[in-house]
């Protein structure tokens, strides 16, 4: 019965996420639910990015492309073809995965900053492309028919349901992250992160392994995209492919600690919490972005391993819990 200890690392992340999911239920407050939704969404996206960034060591600046692409495709089927939100999310996730597979075959050959640049280029190209596709509404995007919500008992119920789906997606994202982290596949990723050439010499089939990591990191963002646009009631190119949000995801992963399951959760919470506080605070409101920038800079310069990485270094005994 040594096996359960391997999954101890999942315990803390799960507790945190379940806590966030129950928080609005307890308060019964819509605005709490909105905040919790934002945080859960950030956790799901950051954890997915972490599979590529933290485990594999590839810096994807344009990871939001999967959120936008999957979201667009899924919403199209929900809105124009009357598919259910479930089927829409499924098709959104799958199309994001397929996109990642095709892109991965091409751009994962690039290393370091060249890969990062390519991901930026792809996101911008995709944004511009959707701007031109009449099928998806061009620059105006798509507005959800109000009747779509009826199938779920009206708008209020549909939005409530969206929150629980979001919580479910976040939990799935964490389970994927944990299973990857503790698997042989994940060990191969870590080896690639540390030294890709040495990993290949030891037999890690890096090109395939990286591609699958890319696919895994793309599916959940695709599904989250569908859900978010469904909840929002519309989608437009610049809302679907915001480069700035993509970089914020990197910041979250870095803040919490890349390469750990718990890190992106703490990072997402800390970042969103901080933004929320600064935006509403009288004192910081006007220069909230600068304050965030200063904090980020201090962390990059002085605690590059992130919060969880730092704790792991300071307290090696905590390693099993802080995965």
């Amino acid at each position: 019965m040594k096996n359960w200890r391997n999954h101890l690392g999942l315990l803390l992340p799960m507790l945190v996420v379940i806590g966030f999911s129950l928080w609005p239920v307890i308060t019964g407050n819509i605005s709490t639910r909105e905040s919790a939704f934002t945080i859960l969404k950030a956790i799901a996206l950051a954890s997915s990015l972490n599979i590529l960034l933290g485990y594999t060591g590839y810096v994807s600046f344009g990871h939001i492309v999967f959120y936008g692409f999957g979201g667009y495709i899924g919403l199209y089927f929900v809105n124009q073809q009357d598919w259910s939100i479930w089927a829409g999310m499924l098709v959104g996730g799958i199309s994001a995965g397929i996109l990642a597979f095709l892109l991965g075959k091409a751009i994962l050959r690039l290393r370091g900053a060249y890969f990062a640049l390519a991901t930026i280029g792809i996101n911008e190209a995709m944004k511009a492309l959707f701007n031109n596709l009449d099928l998806f509404g061009g620059p105006i995007g798509m507005v959800l028919n109000f009747s779509v919500y009826k199938a779920y008992g009206g708008a209020a119920k549909a939005l409530g349901m969206a929150f629980y789906i979001m919580a479910g997606l976040t939990i799935i994202a964490l389970i994927i992250s944990h299973l990857v982290r503790t698997s042989k596949f994940g060990l191969g990723l870590l080896a690639i992160r540390e030294d890709e050439d040495a990993a290949e010499v030891m037999g890690v089939v890096a090109p395939d392994t990286k591609t699958w990591a890319y696919v895994l990191s793309a599916i959940i963002p695709g599904m989250v995209g569908v859900l978010f646009f469904f909840k929002n009631g519309n989608v437009e190119p610049h809302v679907a492919f915001p480069l700035h949000s993509s970089i914020e995801l990197l910041v979250m992963v870095m803040l919490g600690g890349q390469g750990t399951v718990l890190g992106p959760i703490l990072g997402a919470f800390a970042y969103q919490g901080m933004r929320g506080y600064f935006v509403t605070s009288e004192f910081f409101k006007d220069i909230q972005l600068s304050v965030s920038g200063v904090l980020l800079l201090l962390i990059v310069l002085f605690i590059p391993a992130g919060a969880v990485g730092w704790l792991r270094q300071k307290f090696p005994t905590l390693r099993r819990v802080l995965q």
């Binding site: 690039l110 640049l117 390519a118 990197l250 600068s290």
Partner: protein
């Protein structure tokens, strides 16, 4: 036939703009070449250059072209400060660190900028007349901006190839550890390069502001253009950036003759990714 005349009308403008874009990209690619850092604070600095012109010209009445001199000096100093505050500690760290460090500078500048000038658009109404070139009207401001861009490129070339610090910069670009072994003070050279890169960004912003409206967020799109140009001309090859800028300018001038303008970024960024894949050292080759 109609397309050809359209092409002839839009092409000269595209070429002139291309030179100015080239200057912005030169700054980015110089920094990349010397220290392998992609400077994500590039865009906001371009925007600062724009507002530099605005305040010097609108508020103090200084001629925008004369105003380039103080803007360049401030840009240089700002770059050196950014280097020592944000970049120096992470220069040997993994790429993510330097990317996020420069991105945090981006956030700081945009944050302060938003608080001071808001995000609404500004305009420097500066008129240098215009003249007819065949069927095209060429704006004087664009022609002058392009000429200044060529002058700046020439100046950079002379600096890099004829002066001692310039030769040091090229040596560090080539092989930093070897340059250090030969006694080149690499920290000072790195700081100087970052300063120069920032200066070029600020100058390009100042030039662009003479003919396009802008806001504190306007630098972002020029930063993205700089990535594209940098890759076209070869990352790390500042002179190649001028040619990259020309290619981009020509594309922006030519594509609308055949497709809707909204397809321009699709083609630009598509080309960018393809070149990264097939010719990562740029069309003209650069450092390995």
């Amino acid at each position: 036939m109609q397309q050809i005349s359209l092409l002839l009308t839009s092409l000269p403008d595209g070429i002139l703009l291309g030179f100015v874009y080239g200057v912005a990209a030169m700054g980015l690619t110089l920094i990349w070449g010397v220290m392998d850092v992609i400077n994500l604070s590039h865009g906001p600095i371009i925007a600062l250059g724009m507002f530099g012109t605005f305040f010097l010209f609108i508020r103090s009445g200084i001629n925008p072209y004369l105003g380039l001199i103080p803007i360049a000096i401030v840009g240089l100093l700002l770059g050196v400060v950014i280097y020592f505050v944000a970049v120096h500690r992470v220069i040997n760290a993994p790429h993510l660190s330097s990317l996020l460090a420069t991105f945090s500078v981006n956030m700081i500048i945009i944050g302060i900028g938003t608080a001071v000038v808001t995000t609404s658009p500004y305009n420097v109404d500066f008129n240098m007349g215009s003249f007819q070139l065949g069927s095209t009207t060429v704006l004087g401001t664009r022609l002058i901006a392009a000429l200044i861009a060529i002058l700046v490129t020439g100046g950079l070339y002379l600096f890099l190839f004829r002066t001692r610090p310039g030769k040091y910069i090229r040596a560090v670009t080539n092989n930093r550890s070897a340059a250090e072994l030969m006694g080149i003070p690499s920290t000072r050279i790195l700081a100087l390069s970052f300063g120069l890169g920032t200066m070029l960004a600020a100058v390009s912003g100042a030039l662009i502001s003479t003919f396009f409206p802008f806001s504190i967020l306007a630098g972002g799109s020029y930063e993205l253009k700089s990535f594209v140009i940098g890759v076209l001309g070869g990352l790390g090859n500042p002179i190649g950036a001028l040619f990259g800028g020309l290619i981009l300018g020509v594309l922006e001038g030519a594509i609308p003759a055949f497709l809707e303008t909204s397809w321009v970024p699709v083609i630009e960024f598509g080309l960018f990714v393809v070149i990264l894949l097939v010719r990562p050292n740029g069309l003209f080759g650069a450092k390995q």
